[in-house]
């Protein structure tokens, strides 16, 4: 990477910090959620937000798009939503002159940031169409592949309540989400600030601070961040420890999990650590970065068994148990520890 490019990267990192500040102007609290969303953006990883209605999920995504000057679209998933409603459809249209022919009309998926609201309310068929686009970053219509714009990021939301009439995402498809981020209720101070900002005469708006090209450059730079072999080994140990069939797994994981994280989980973990390091202005990732990304990267990749669903601890506790186990296995000899 040339020096000019490096300067550009440094500027982009600064820009990311400014974007964060812009988002914070609109979003009250949820600082960690914003950081994780930016990390996912740098990794070009899709995010599944889970939280009760009214916590600002849509606002966050829209503000992110505004601050980064990215194309934004929103799809409200419903049971009768069809794949063509999100991918687009081929229709008869009049072209230039008098030519009338079939023309592909892109759906809302053709945007940089796509908000898939309440993704679990759509039928599995529509979910699959979305997930294909997420994975391949292209859609195929009538045998022709249409690449999706870059950066491309799907930010899906899921309501943990009102599960009646929903189609929970299969584990194999959930695995394609880079992060699963939980949104929590604001505390009293944050709630007061929300009231002050939203009920005034002037609505807060995030100013654009970056372009899509800057985001792409940052995404490329993220992969250049150095992760030492020992860090990658640690990530691998963590993922291995989440697999209940492994002897390295802690007892709780062996008892309560049906299966654990796989290679995608390990990739997400290390890549997220790199992105976090970049956002922190560092050029190498460390164990603290890994630990900070542990829960969003792994929590949705662990499947509880029946016993785990009925009486087991939260998945987050199991992820932490795997982390502790991996750290212990990675510890130095007692003589120099």
């Amino acid at each position: 990477m040339s020096d000019t490019a490096k300067v550009g990267i440094e500027a982009a990192v600064e820009g990311m910090a400014r974007a964060r500040a812009e988002i914070a102007k609109v979003m009250v609290g949820q600082g960690e959620v914003i950081d994780l969303a930016l990390i996912a953006l740098l990794c070009e990883g899709h995010v599944l937000f889970e939280g009760v209605p009214g916590l600002g999920k849509t606002l966050l995504v829209r503000t992110l798009a505004d601050s980064l000057r990215l194309a934004f679209s929103r799809v409200q998933f419903t049971p009768d939503l069809m794949p063509s409603d999100i991918i687009g459809a081929t229709m008869i249209a009049k072209g230039e002159g008098d030519d009338i022919g079939l023309r592909f009309e892109p759906g809302p998926l053709f945007a940089n940031l796509v908000l898939a609201d309440e993704i679990n309310r759509a039928s599995p068929k529509t979910q699959s169409a979305l997930l294909q686009g997420m994975q391949e970053r292209a859609v195929t219509v009538r045998g022709k592949s249409w690449p999706l714009p870059r950066p491309f990021l799907v930010l899906a939301t899921q309501n943990p309540l009102e599960m009646e009439g929903t189609y929970p995402l299969p584990e194999a498809q959930i695995d394609r989400f880079f992060f699963k981020i939980l949104l929590t209720q604001p505390d009293a101070a944050e709630l007061t600030a929300i009231l002050g900002r939203t009920l005034g005469p002037v609505e807060a708006v995030a100013a654009p601070v970056m372009e899509g090209a800057d985001v792409l450059a940052l995404q490329a730079a993220t992969r250049e961040i150095v992760a030492t072999p020992s860090l990658m080994e640690l990530a691998a140990q963590v993922v291995i420890a989440t697999q209940p069939e492994r002897p390295e797994a802690p007892p709780a994981i062996r008892k309560y999990l049906r299966w654990g994280a796989g290679p995608r989980g390990a990739q997400a973990l290390v890549l997220a650590a790199k992105a976090r390091a970049l956002l922190g202005g560092r050029f190498n990732a460390g164990p603290a970065d890994l630990e900070a990304c542990l829960l969003p990267a792994l929590r949705h990749r662990l499947a509880l068994n029946f016993e785990g669903q009925s009486e087991g601890p939260p998945v987050e506790d199991l992820v932490r148990a795997a982390w502790d186990q991996a750290r212990a296995a990675f510890a130095f000899d007692g003589a120099i520890a």
Partner: protein
């Protein structure tokens, strides 16, 4: 070309590996040493190691096991050495630098070819002074050293005092533990000969207890195992039994036979190299240099017997010479008035040890007992100075000496009824024997109590003959 960072990490790696080796060696050494010491002590207790060879074997075996453990630890430590990358990670961990030095090392190894390698190396260089100032974690090594040293001392201190230990022999008889030179047993004795051959043991046991199968079998087993103390114990039991029978009154021919039995037992003791009747190496034995002279004032003009060490009990006759000689303690200087007492306590043995632990009433020809005078009294004719009583063990055991009462009478307090002491002693001795057996008293105390009654018996006999 090795950079400054590379050199620093390599140095750290060497130091840490040395630390690991040393710690592993120490961690493995002491369990080996302790196990060896315990094993040797167990073998000694089982009689599988002769007393003579045990001290050297214990010291050598413990030290050898310690070294073997250290060697095993070194081998384990070699397998657990850390690499340069791990050393860099260790430094990162200490600095809290989030793998910066590790990453910089990788960047330098690949020639700073990555996009951010130069920046990483530059940032790492700024951390070098802090990295160089990190001290080695010697705390665990020091703790390990202290533990190993402590365990080594414990192992040796566990092993060496057991040298010469015999389960049935008082601990004070251990040659290594004795402050002064052990007395030389008579030539041709068996006391330090170790275990005997089965045939020899059987023959000797039979000669010691010709008509007593049970004791003979026990003695044979003890001789085969080299437990001379157990044989001594059996001889004493036989001796007490004989004395008991004599005291109860037997016909003249039977008495002569019993006396011959006593002589045979004494001969057996001599052959075994055991000092007669409590005069062995018992811990309660008094050494000549420990005796304190008591001075007997009174009509007897006699020089009081040498006071024994330890607390002296007031005795009839006012003599306060050391009656009982515990293992240590200061003996009061006897200043008795035995001679002046109208019916004062005559010196039971006139300078002889009246209390066998020190010397034994039988003459104290045993090792350390030689020269012990026990509780001394003034010599001379008893003079009537009114009743003087000395409480020995309780109100029921007052020995009263009144103007009309013989010293050899046992007066029940309050009742005035008197009974010859000699007639009470056998049953009292049997009761005491049963009590000490039942209560599981330590051997030396049992010896002491037996000796006490033996002494009283002899004194009573002498008094009766007068």
């Amino acid at each position: 070309m090795r950079t400054e960072l590379g050199r620093l990490v390599s140095e750290r790696r060497r130091s840490l590996n040395l630390l690991i080796l040393a710690s592993r060696a120490l961690a493995w050494a002491w369990p080996f040493g302790l196990a060896a010491a315990l094993l040797l002590a167990l073998l000694r207790l089982l009689g599988l190691i002769p007393a003579a060879t045990y001290p050297g074997l214990a010291a050598l075996g413990t030290a050898a096991a310690f070294l073997a453990g250290a060697l095993a630890g070194l081998v384990g430590g070699l397998a657990g050495r850390i690499s340069t990358a791990e050393a860099a990670r260790w430094v990162d961990l200490r600095l809290g630098s989030e793998d910066l030095l590790s990453a910089a090392l990788i960047c330098e190894e690949r020639g700073l070819a990555g996009s951010f390698d130069s920046e990483i190396a530059q940032r790492a260089r700024s951390l070098l002074p802090a990295a160089a100032s990190i001290g080695l974690p010697l705390r665990s090594l020091l703790l390990g050293s202290a533990l190993a040293l402590g365990m080594l001392v414990l192992s040796l201190s566990l092993a060496l005092p057991l040298a010469g230990y015999h389960p049935r022999r008082p601990a004070a008889a251990i040659p290594a533990a004795r402050p002064e030179a052990a007395p030389t047993p008579p030539s041709g004795t068996l006391i330090d000969a170790g275990p005997l051959e089965p045939a020899a043991a059987a023959a000797l046991a039979e000669s010691l207890f010709p008509g007593d199968r049970e004791r003979s079998a026990q003695a044979e087993r003890a001789l085969r195992e080299g437990r001379i103390g157990a044989v001594d114990e059996l001889l004493r039991e036989a001796e007490v039994a004989i004395q008991d029978r004599i005291d109860r009154g037997v016909s003249e021919p039977e008495k002569e036979r019993l006396v011959r039995e006593q002589e045979r037992i004494a001969e057996g003791r001599r052959r075994l190299g055991i000092a007669p009747q409590g005069g062995t190496r018992g811990p309660l034995a008094l050494r000549p240099d420990q005796g304190q002279k008591g001075t007997g004032k009174g009509e007897g003009e006699g020089e009081g017997g040498q006071g024994g060490q330890g607390r002296s009990r007031p005795l009839p006759g006012g003599d306060e010479g050391g009656l009982i000689a515990p293992r240590s303690g200061e003996g009061g200087e006897g200043e008795g008035q035995g001679g002046a007492t109208p019916k004062g306590l005559p010196a039971p043995d006139s300078g002889q040890g009246a209390v066998p632990p020190g010397g034994g009433s039988e003459g104290g020809s045993g090792d350390e007992s030689r020269g012990t005078k026990g509780w001394g009294t003034g010599e001379g004719a008893p003079a009537d100075r009114g009743p003087v009583t000395a409480r020995a063990t309780g109100p029921e055991a007052d020995l009263g000496l009144g103007a009309k009462q013989s010293w050899f009478e046992f007066i029940l307090p309050g009742s005035g009824a008197a009974a010859p002491l000699g007639s009470l002693l056998p049953s009292a001795a049997r009761s005491a024997e049963a009590a000490v057996t039942r209560e599981g008293l330590p051997l030396e105390y049992r010896e002491f109590i037996r000796s006490y009654f033996m002494a009283l018996s002899k004194t009573a006999r002498q008094g009766a003959s007068k």
